[in-house]
Each structure stands twice: as C-alpha cells, then as structure tokens.
C-alpha cells in the first residue's frame, strides 16, 4: 500500500503532504492540492474535500470505507494508535472504569496517485497538523457498574440476610458467608445476632484470605441452635448438609451427643477425599472423658480407617487412611478433651496430629485405601453403614479436606478459635 511513496508531492512546510481531490483525479483535470495553503489547519484542509456521493454524511470515515468501492474486501489497515480502550475488570472492591476518548481520531489518509486509491499512513500521526491525541474525557468516564455497597460486617444488623447480589466478587468470603447464614436461617436456625453474623463473615473472609478455602471439602460452623441451622455445610450449603440421628442436645454452643445413639451424618464418602492429601478436624467445646470415637469412617473390607478419638483425659488417637487397626496417639497430662483436634495425612507414608493448632505427633504409617462409607461425627461409621462407638462430647466445628501444613494448621486453628471466642464457646 505504501509503494512509491517518495513520488508524492510534499508541501512547503515540513513534511506536509499534498492532498488532491479524487474527483479531479478521475476527471483528469488539473490537480488542485487540497492543502494548497500550508498554513491552513488540518481540519480546514479536510473540510475542502467534499465527496460527490455524500458518503461522508453517513458514517465517519475509516480506512475500509475510504473509497467506498472495494476496500470492504481488503484487510483493514491498522491505524496506530488505536483509540479503543479496553476494560479489564479487577477482582477488588474498587472497579476500574474505562475511559472513552472524547474525540474521534482523525485518520491520516491521502489519495495515492500511483495506486489511484486512498491510502493511510499511520506513521504520519505526529506529522499532521491539528491531529489531536486521544485524551480521556471527564464527560465520557464510565459509571462503574459493579460498585458495591459495603456489606453488613459485624455491625448492628441482627438478621444477616444478604442485601446485595454482586456482579463480581469483592471481598472474598463475604458472599459465601452470607449464603451460609441465609441457609442457616432458611433451615430454621435462630439466634443469629449481629455479633454472630459478623464473626461468621470474618471467619469466611479469613479462610479465603489465607488460601484455606480449597483445603476444606466440607465444613460445619454449627450455628442456629437447632438441627435445621446446624446442618448447613459452610463450604456448599445444600450439599452434604448434616442429618442428625438419635439423642442430640442443641444449643448456641453446638450439638452434644448422648453417647448412646447420637451421630451426625455428612453423606460425604471417604472416596471423595484424597488418599495422601487429607485432613479431618473437630472442635469440641465439652470438657469430659469418653472412650468412644469422635468422628470418622472405617472399613474392614477395604482395610482402611480415618477417625479420631479423644479419651480418658490423656489420650488423643488419630488415623488417616491407614490400615484398619490402631491409631497414632498422643498422651497429655492435662488433656481436657476439648479444643480443636486434627488428623492429617500429607504423604503416603506420614500421619500427623495437631491439637489447638500445635503439632502433637506423627508416624511413618503407610496409607492403604479409602472406603465408600460416609463420614459421621459423634461416632464412627463402619461397613454396611453401621454406626458405632457413640460419643458424648459437644461439637461446634467439623471439617474434612486436604492436608494442611504446620503453619496452615496454626492459621486455621487461630481463625476457628477466634470465631468460637466471639461466640463464647471457645476452649483455648
């Protein structure tokens, strides 16, 4: 398109080009430069060119439309700079509005006498007179469409009903927390004060902020004071919600089993977990002794066990996808049976246990397999969906997920315990 450009006639000042009317070219008349007066502005020069077909009144000229003949079948000529702004929404709470240039760019074009065609020379932008540089116009600033109203963060709103439906995520965890709280209310949960709602939102945010969300396959904050509220799975309300069975006592502190026939069913199969990237955690708010199992699943046929027990005030036993026999155990002189207990398998040959966020013990036990049996707490689940070893402790948190590093154990413990402390049901 730019061949023989050196044959064009140049103006008397600088690199000004000489522009001719195509009509006169076609008619073979003498060439009258459109910009004969070099002191005229670019706009004046352009104004002297008038198309005989009135085409310029229809649409703004661009490269493809310039001759109105065959350019539509040719490739667009790149024009630089392209004044089309892009809008890249950010993931933060402050949306970045895009800016539309206030003026339509003037495309540098001329009639090429060698080609008998309109030509464009993007390299001449800075040579032209009066060609404005596209600048942001305050009048064209877009109104942010995803501006969010601050949410009810730990304030005085007693009912945490979500008030907004954000079009993009803003503060991670807020939406998830409000969804969870709404599900607790929908399930019949009561007593969700602004303090509890705020603490819940904070906990969800902290889990997100510390990249622990994906470490939790299912978790139960256990709010609402009754079975309908406490059933809700915080990770995905409506999926793997709990069903309670037998003799439970519900309160704002959590759910307490009777040690006779009480257990909570998650419906979450062990085969949904990862064999060598696994944790199971439970927070008990009751200080007592019980020789039975707090949570877990096992299978004689699959020769696997993933369970925990805290008993006789001194022993914490844990297992994670190991052979269906024995536990790794820790002995404490002042173990109360209350607090956050976690069993973790980070590797195929390692089991670890943690109490209140601190490392307890580990063993180089090999992983074996998983079972299709589903997890319960307040007891343990074995083959044929038989539930046994009922416990009488009280629970206010249960989770299953992926392995947590030592520092993540500490962080998650701090987050959960801060939540429990705000609800006056912490034990450490």
């Amino acid at each position: 398109m730019r061949k023989n450009i050196d044959k064009r006639t140049w103006g008397v000042l600088g690199k000004m080009k000489t522009y001719y009317s195509p009509q006169k070219q076609v008619e073979g008349k003498s060439k009258t430069p459109l910009n004969a007066n070099a002191f005229d502005s670019w706009d004046v020069k352009r104004s002297r060119f008038k198309r005989i077909d009135g085409y310029e009144n229809k649409v703004p000229p661009n490269v493809q439309q310039m001759d109105g003949i065959n350019e539509s079948s040719s490739s667009p000529i790149p024009v630089s700079p392209t004044p089309t702004p892009s809008f890249t929404p950010t993931s933060t709470s402050t949306p970045t509005p895009s800016i539309t240039p206030s003026s339509t760019p003037i495309i540098d074009c001329y009639w090429d006498t060698n080609n008998d065609n309109w030509e464009n020379d993007s390299t001449l932008w800075n040579d032209c007179v009066n060609v404005p540089t596209p600048t942001p116009s305050p009048t064209n600033t877009m109104t942010p469409t995803n501006t969010m109203t601050p949410t009810n963060t730990n304030t005085s709103t007693p009912t945490p009903t979500p008030s907004i439906t954000p079009s993009t995520s803003f503060v991670s965890g807020t939406t998830e927390a409000e969804t969870y709280l709404a599900a607790v209310l929908a399930g019949g949960g009561t007593g969700l004060t602004s303090t509890i709602s705020g603490a819940t939102i904070t906990m969800f945010r902290d889990i997100m902020a510390n990249n622990l969300w994906d470490k939790l396959d299912i978790f139960y904050p256990m709010l609402g004071g009754n079975s309908g509220g406490m059933k809700v799975n915080g990770r995905n309300p409506g999926t793997n919600d709990l069903t309670f069975n037998g003799g439970w006592t519900f309160s704002n502190s959590g759910a307490t089993g009777n040690g006779t026939n009480a257990y909570a069913e998650t419906g979450y199969a062990d085969t949904n977990t990862l064999l060598n990237d696994y944790h199971q955690a439970i927070y008990s708010f009751v200080r007592n002794s019980n020789g039975n199992i707090d949570c877990g699943v096992g299978s004689a046929s699959a020769n696997t066990r993933s369970a925990m027990y805290v008993n006789e005030l001194t022993t914490f036993g844990a297992s994670a996808h190991r052979a269906n026999s024995g536990y790794i155990s820790s002995t404490y002189t002042a173990n109360t049976g209350a607090g956050l207990y976690v069993v973790d398998r980070p590797l195929s040959n390692s089991e670890k246990s943690f109490t209140n966020g601190s490392f307890s013990t580990s063993a180089a036990t090999a992983s074996t397999s998983r079972t299709s049996n589903t997890y319960v707490f307040g007891a343990r689940r074995i083959d044929n969906q038989v539930t046994e070893a009922y416990n009488n402790r009280g629970y206010c948190w249960y989770s299953i997920g992926k392995s947590l590093s030592d520092s993540q154990q500490s962080t998650l413990s701090s987050i959960i315990n801060t939540f429990q402390t705000t609800l006056n049901r912490n034990t450490y």
Binding site: F244, N245, A389
Partner: protein, 75 residues
C-alpha cells in the same frame, strides 16, 4: 448414665426413618444388654410430630452405654 426408653420391634420399625425434628431422625438401637431396642430421652423430649406422640408415654430407664472400643485398647 443415660435415660432411655425400651421399644418393641414394631415400635422400633415405626420410628426408623422418621423425623424427630427437621433434619433430625430417630435412631433406635439395640441396647446391647438386657433391654431390647431403645431410643433416647433426647429424642423423646424433642419429638414434635403428632404421629409420634405415643413415645411421650414411654417409661424412661437408666442405661449405661457401652464403651466400645475403649481406652488404650481402642481398635
């Protein structure tokens, strides 16, 4: 020590799969000792549905739930 109520097999069958309250089911179990099937005091007290009003008349008895497995011999 827990308080439980003994059930006949027919009574047990009528409660299996039935709700105590929303999202909370009866869980009759074999007692493991001289009693037959049992349900707990908590289930009886919390039951809210008219179909199960009859359990309110059951007699509560003391019960020592078995610890199984227990202590350091847990298996």
């Amino acid at each position: 020590m827990e308080l439980v109520a003994a059930l006949t097999i027919n009574e047990k069958d009528s409660l299996v799969g039935q709700l105590v309250q929303p999202d909370w089911y009866f869980n009759p179990r074999l007692s493991g000792d001289t009693l037959p099937w049992i349900i707990s005091e908590q289930e009886i007290n919390a039951s809210i549905y008219p179909d199960h009003i009859w359990i309110k008349d059951l007699t509560l008895v003391e019960y020592n739930p078995p610890v199984n497995p227990s202590g350091s011999t847990i298996n």
